[in-house]
């Protein structure tokens, strides 16, 4: 019985962590460029609604995912003219973007409320999924789950080992120096927003296509904000973001498992855990965080007082 519980929990945790992971990975790129996007929630909603709607209409999940990624990228870019072009307050702009995402996804998703779609199903890997105990947990997941680790590695490589990534990080640290070095600071930040949006869009799509298999208004329920906190929690490292997402997903899945077994613990207390843990870790890691935070972000946070 206990083994069943753990299996269910771990498998569920991995699944639940995936949307948040992609959104947080995208936001990592954005924040490394010195911007903070509180509107990730909106981007995820756009991805979730578009992914579902297009899959439903065309009958192809692949097309749906591409559409979600594309429109997620475009949506995130809307922040660009505000915060890069006009230098507007990033926190307020992000929340405006969130509202927009909520509205747009509700509006265009209206026709699809209540419908279901097969979406993205689990893909059992040939030999690996038969490995005792671990097999069903790790290797009977859907494609996007499998792509999480490669995505994290890809972004890690992109940021740390390419010229583009180097210039991007320079922009996030000190725009003046980056400019002196010849970087196109505006273009780089727009590109970061686009990539961030693509990933967040995919994260949202995973939620509607692989987990819920349906669309409802506000399906993300704050996951976008958790993703933003996660990035700080992970000290802006793509690989640690994976870990953080798993912890979150684990807490989400734990609640489901416990409830299914009629456990005594209040689901609400469990539900609070991810947020409280995040807060505790953020406070605990404050010195280390400050050490790792891109300098450009510090301006946004340490506004005054």
């Amino acid at each position: 019985m206990a083994s069943d519980f753990f299996q269910g929990w771990l498998a569920g945790g991995i699944l639940a962590s995936t949307p948040i992971f992609y959104a947080a990975l995208g936001e990592t790129v954005v924040e490394k460029a010195g911007l903070i996007n509180l509107g990730v929630e909106g981007t995820m909603l756009v991805g979730a609604s578009v992914g579902f709607a297009v899959s439903s209409t065309t009958g192809s999940v692949a097309v749906g995912l591409c559409a979600a990624a594309l429109l997620g990228g475009v949506f995130n870019l809307l922040l660009g003219p505000l915060v890069v072009g006009r230098g507007a307050n990033q926190l307020a702009s992000g929340l405006a973007l969130m509202f927009l995402g909520q509205g747009l996804s509700a509006y265009y998703g209206k026709a699809f409320v209540g419908t279901t779609v097969d979406g993205l199903g689990p893909l059992a890997l040939p030999v690996l999924s038969r490995v005792p105990w671990l097999g069903p947990i790790l290797f009977r997941q859907d494609l996007l789950v499998y792509l999480t680790v490669p995505s994290a590695i890809f972004v890690w490589y992109l940021l740390g080992r390419t010229s583009w990534g180097l210039h991007l990080r320079a922009v996030g640290e000190d725009r003046m120096v980056a400019y002196a070095a010849g970087s196109n600071t505006g273009l780089l930040r727009y590109q970061a927003l686009a990539l961030g949006g693509v990933l967040a869009g995919i994260g949202g799509a995973h939620l509607s296509l692989a987990i819920a298999h349906t669309w409802t208004e506000g399906i993300t329920a704050g996951r976008g904000f958790i993703a933003v906190a996660l990035v700080i929690f992970a000290a802006w490292s793509p690989l640690r973001v994976l870990l953080g997402a798993l912890i979150f997903g684990g807490t989400l899945a734990l609640q489901i498992q416990l409830q299914a077994r009629g456990a005594e613990v209040s689901p609400f207390l469990l539900d609070m855990l991810p947020y409280l843990v995040t807060l505790a870790v953020l406070v605990q890691l404050r010195k280390a965080s400050r050490g790792r935070m891109p300098e450009g972000l510090k301006e946004v946070f340490e506004s005054s007082a």
Binding site: L38, L82, A92, L100, F225, V228, L279, V283
Partner: protein, 338 residues
Amino acid sequence: MLALRNRSALALDAGLLAGALLLFSLLLLTSGKNPLDTYGSLLRSTLGSAYGLSEVVVKLIPLLFTALAVALPARLGLVNVGGEGQLHLGALFAASAALSLGPGTPGWLGLPAGALAGMLGGAAWAFAPALLRSLGWLNETISTLLLNYVALRVVDFFVYGALRDPGSANVPQTKAFGPGFLWPAFTGRVHVGIALGLLALALAAVLLFLTRWGYEIRAIGGNPVAAHRHGLPLAATTIAVLCAGGALAGLAGTGEIMAIQGRLRPHFSADFGYLGFLISWLAGHRPLRILVMGFLVAVIATGGDSLQLDQGLPSATVNILMALLLFVVLAREGKRGV
């Protein structure tokens, strides 16, 4: 020269606003809706009838408080996104007070007790983020945002648990509050909260521009370095103002359950906290402008509710319009915005 600046600024404002409305109209067109129909429906359901107008006012009441909850800290340069959570805790504290004191409590005790409890709850919820910020440990934007989600669960915990009404089996809610706690209405659903809200706005304006504390708040917000060098108490002011904001949001929550709902239920807030944030930013955090912007947003939000019935559009559609308006204001202010 000044007149010219004002005229062109106004023209720019009007142009940007028109742009936002145009975009929204285009959006409606893309899914086959006639924008004129939608605007018409929006206006008719809100300003077109006495009932509509009263619903707008009812929506406005909590928004005035939650907007102030953002505006006051914003004067210090702080970003309080925790209105949603603070109003929930305010409601929770008020509900607890009402239920502990019992249904027989007279109005002269019940009303102030409820209100004070509500303010205490909201302030308490803002205290931890305030402290963390004043110590320089954690930015208040993140902490208040995360605590919003915790607050929802805290309320759920009590409503499904200790405060649950055993009489209503399938519906999670508390017992109804005694009549001594309920906020009286002027007419229909429009309750005293409107008077309190207007009073709060006036008091906020007085506080900021007439009193010594307002002076200190504006000085610290304007240049914390200079203020600190001249002995102004940064940490104490930060905590006081954030908690005051929390108290105001708490009052918003109290009003909703004491005047409209009559008991505490989960999800009683229609995004009042976030809308308040929106309003305060649209209003440049100025108390009197909050009234104007608050009314505008209340019209849009209320109109949105009936869009569902009228036009078959989800109520969240109006979020698009509100977001566009905020985009416009932010783009216009640029770096000069708080």
